[in-house]
Amino acid sequence: MKEIPDKEILLFKSCLVNVEYPGVESSTRFLFDKLGIEYIVSERQSCCTGLGHYSDLFDQFSTAALAARNFGIARELGHKNIATLCATCYAILKKSGNILNKQDHIRDSINKILDDSGVPDLKYNLEDMDSRSNIFHAVEILYNKVDEIQDLVEVDLSEIKVAAHHACHYCKVHHKDTIGNVRDPMVMETLARACGVQTVNWYDRKTNTCGNGFRQRYMNKDLSFSITAEKLMSLKENEVDILLHMCPNCQLQFDRNQKVIGESFGTEFNIICLNVSQFLALALGADPYKVVGIQTHTVPVEPILDKIKQIIHAYEV
């Protein structure tokens, strides 16, 4: 397995996390703090272009130029290890890193643009970023600390059943860098199991996309929803309480649209959608509203809070 850092990390903000599930960022920070992972957040960091990029609006060259700028910021701050909260940021940054390292003429023209734009200090030097050893998903940083997480669990989750939806842009795009098997990574299940929860390790349509499909959610809603529905049906059959996510795009698709999709199929799914960081934060005793941010969810998270029992630690007795 690749080597995963626990310091000099730039926690890469995500546009969708910012406005839809800010609890993902606060939960990740909560976990990083607890686990002693050294990181920073930069207000100068821009969006990766992901949503626009995969809607075909951004061209690859512009996306790579903006990535070079963000890489420059990470380097200047001395935090070259990037941890993303969103799978699309992860895939976009890796791709850009590869282009900047391998295509000399592209790197040269981007550097010229950065120079001409008055930010020569952010120019990209060859091998500044190694896509494999510098760019990670925050989940990977946590996965590396799974033993420590196990020791920090404060609540009893044994009555809860979870399944995982590994984001396509995490496991499929740069498949050589995916932890575990690309076709069934089990990264989130492993983390969840460390918290003592029951996991559904395989379910039909497990490796399916969430159905968002970037433009498809907006332009071909029915097509998009039929894909999402396939997965929701299978999860319902497996009596899953919580679907774990690692990407706000997928989380948005399953959480915000769940009700409408259920209505069109004449059913209610009631599957709670949590980012794996949110789930782990809950397990480690974080406040559901002040850290985990469940108030921004559409499928109510409250029912699960009732199932969670506090473990009374021996030392407290």
């Binding site: 546009c15 969708l16 910012n18 406005v19 800010p22 960022e25 606060s26 920070r29 957040v41 207000e43 821009s46 969006c47 949503l51 626009g52 809607s55 075909d56 609006l57 951004f58 061209d59 690859q60 060259f61 512009s62 790579a64 130029a65 903006l66 282009i99 391998k102 295509q103 592209i106 981007i110 643009i113 950065l114 001409d116 008055g118 396509c168 842009h169 499929k172 498949h175 690309v182 490796t207 399916n208 996309t209 159905g211 968002n212 499909g213 970037f214 433009r215 498809q216 907006y218 071909n220 097509l223 894909i227 915000r256 649209n257 009700k259 409408v260 002040k290 108030q295 921004t296 559409t298």
Partner: protein
């Protein structure tokens, strides 16, 4: 019946794809043996006429009508085909490149016009935001709680101890300069123009 004439380079389209910046290094398009593993797992193929194997076949046959064919707009960009292809081809990347070709030749611009707001918000804030055009439509599906969330967002973020969303002004300016020079700003204008034309029609 189709006649294969001597001297025609049927690999032209495949070569264009291989050389494109979006294509992975060593993309295996020329090694495709049409095994159909991509299609067997493709979500779009399950519900539409889209068939990633066939897309690749048409590229290898230099079928240029593909660029103007609506079929290419069905891909989800989920990369499932890319992750299983036994010869490291990527129908997903092939599709992305074909769509760029469609945009370049004009036919594709109306397809991406609705998403021009992603570009606007980038130039304005350095961030991506869900296009306003879709707001009402989303609100209907998401429910009114979502609207309330938008209203309360700043308070919630504060409660969660999170910093500001917006980038410092200087950085937004830098980003504008960069995107001007990469040609994105012009590209966006052309897309916007196409959108306005569509609206006025």
């Amino acid at each position: 019946m189709n006649t294969l004439k001597i001297g025609e380079n049927t690999f032209e389209l495949a070569q264009i794809i291989i050389k494109d910046l979006k294509a992975s290094e060593n993309i295996g398009i020329l090694k495709c043996i049409q095994c159909g593993m991509c299609t067997s797992l493709c979500p779009a193929a399950r519900h539409t006429d889209y068939d990633p194997r066939e897309i690749v076949k048409r590229v290898l046959d230099k079928d240029e009508s593909l660029i103007t064919d609506d079929i290419i707009w069905n891909c989800f960009y989920c990369y499932t085909c890319h992750s299983v292809c036994p010869v490291n081809n990527s129908a997903c990347e092939v599709n992305q490149i074909l769509r760029q070709k469609a945009i370049d030749n004009g036919k594709g611009k109306p397809k991406i016009a609705p998403f021009s707001a992603y570009g606007d918000s980038f130039l304005e804030y350095g961030l991506g935001a869900i296009p306003n055009d879709f707001f009402d439509h989303l609100l209907k599906d998401y429910g009114k709680e979502w609207l309330q969330l938008k209203v309360d967002l700043e308070d919630i973020r504060e409660e969660l101890g999170l910093g500001p969303i917006l980038l410092p002004e200087k950085d937004v300016n830098d980003i504008n300069k960069i995107l001007e020079k990469t040609g994105f700003t012009k590209r966006l204008e052309r897309v916007r123009r196409c959108k306005d034309e569509g609206n006025s029609r």
